[in-house]
Amino acid sequence: MSRDSVVFKGTATGLVLELDPAADIDDILVTMEQKMLAAARFFKGAILDVAYRGRELTPEQEALVLDLLHRKSGARIRKLTREQELPPASIISQKDPQSAQRDLRPAHNDVPSKPPQQLKNQPVQEQMLLDPPEKEEITRFHKGTLRSGQRISSPGHVVVLGDVNPGAEIVAAGNILVMGVIRGLVHAGSEGNRDAVVTAIRLKPMQLRIADIITRPPENLENDFFTAYETARVKNETIVIEETGK
């Protein structure tokens, strides 16, 4: 296969499948499956509108593609349509305006142009879809206080600008950084990484977990001395809290 029969592209609302007009439908389906398996974690949990372009699909073929997306992507697919039905402005993944593939650009030219270094090769958005970042590199950012009943989880790190109140939960495969007080439940290294740490301005967690270790603070904890921040990490199989910037 000299050229991929399917190329995945990201848009503001979902995904565009660029289909090779010459390839047959079976080839397209096989390639799609391989790509989705490679990027399964990236799609997981997403809600996507999917459009396709490059060739026509019969309703039967459309059903096959949709079925495959449902089964293999791990994402929730809201709809599958031909591309022109999507508003053109939603296309983020643009081609180099100077390249020969000009015809693939959206009809409107008022889309902001990208910095030069991004125009040289594949668009950045597409690169991300094809080679998902190491999941530890993904960081979920939450602005504001996390209140009781609210839960943030991430395959990577979590950063919260605010407090984490009792009854709130953060679960991250990577590290957790809270620019406030942790009073709720936090679980760093949730997939088994004992090197993960939890850092906060004040650590008063209901329960603190790193990887497979669960701790809770002693019953009558009174330590209202000033620190710049506190970090919980695993040392000798137990979770210890270090104060920094006293």
Binding site: S148, G149, R151, G167, R216
Partner: protein
């Protein structure tokens, strides 16, 4: 085989959770093996009132979704032997559990415990339906307010239509001085409207707020009137054939109490 009791009220804030904690603690004090289930998914409180919040690893939703075994979700109380809690999930909602799953769970717990006490959420929707699904009997909590009594009436009707016969009433937060002045509904007024038996009357007591905030059931406080009321209630539940007299709610101390002791209760 254990007995499944649901504590419900319709109206919020009348003391379902406090009553559940105290009745559970009281029953375990009487040597019974007790498990409490918090069915208020998304607004859990029972764990806080019992001071067990920081021990939660698995919850009710994990149990019904079979993510863990029932035993793994049982949290042992720190003060009362034979008292266990299955906490509610906080980051889910009532639809995470179905009545049939509750029946299954109750029937499993029934084998190992003398009493399963279910803390019902306020309202008459899904959470209420889950809470009463597996119950053999019900305790309806009300306060001496028209709104709470109205809701209790509605709840008693719903319980009866779900086949839970003869629910009993727990009248909470009564203030005998206000009743005397005629500013508060008295026990007979409430019983006349609701036409059910009552299992106890709990006086309004500041100790309840103190103990709730500390995460310790008031039943352990031998000086508290409310604690005594709950001790009586648990005896009535555990030993239905025994005749336990209702608590004398007259204020015992103070000048007025002394006068009463000396001159007898004439007009007060």
């Amino acid at each position: 085989m254990g007995e499944i009791i649901v504590i419900t009220s319709g109206k919020g804030g009348v003391g379902k959770t406090t009553s559940t904690a105290n009745i559970g603690a009281g029953l375990s004090n009487l040597g019974k093996k007790v498990v409490l289930i918090d069915t208020d998914i998304g607004l859990r409180n029972l764990d806080v009132v019992l001071g067990l919040e920081n021990r939660i690893v698995y919850d009710l939703v994990d149990v019904v979704e079979k993510k863990c075994r029932v035993k793994q979700a049982l949290i042992k109380d720190k003060r009362f032997e034979n008292l266990f809690l299955i906490p509610a999930a906080q980051t889910r909602d009532k639809s995470a559990v179905s009545p049939s799953q509750m029946i299954e769970l109750c029937d499993e717990l029934r084998k190992d415990f003398d009493f399963v006490v279910i803390d019902c959420p306020a309202g008459i929707e899904q959470g209420f339906k889950n809470a009463i699904a597996g119950a053999d009997r019900a305790i309806v909590v009300t306060t001496p307010e028209v709104s709470a009594v109205r809701d209790a009436d509605r709840i008693i009707g719903l319980l009866e239509s779900h086949g839970i016969k003869d629910p009993v009433l727990l009248i909470n937060r009564i203030r005998i001085d206000m009743v005397k002045r005629g500013d508060m509904m008295n026990i007979d007024d409430i019983l006349e409207i609701l036409a059910v038996k009552h299992i106890g009357v709990v006086p309004d007591d500041e100790k309840i707020i103190e103990s709730t905030n500390r995460g310790e059931p008031v039943i352990a406080d031998s000086k508290s009137m409310a604690g005594q009321a709950y001790r009586n209630i648990t005896r009535r539940i555990a030993f239905p054939d025994e005749n336990i007299p209702f608590l004398d709610l007259e204020p015992a101390g103070g000048l007025r109490g002394l006068f009463k002791k000396v001159f007898g209760d004439k007009k007060v």
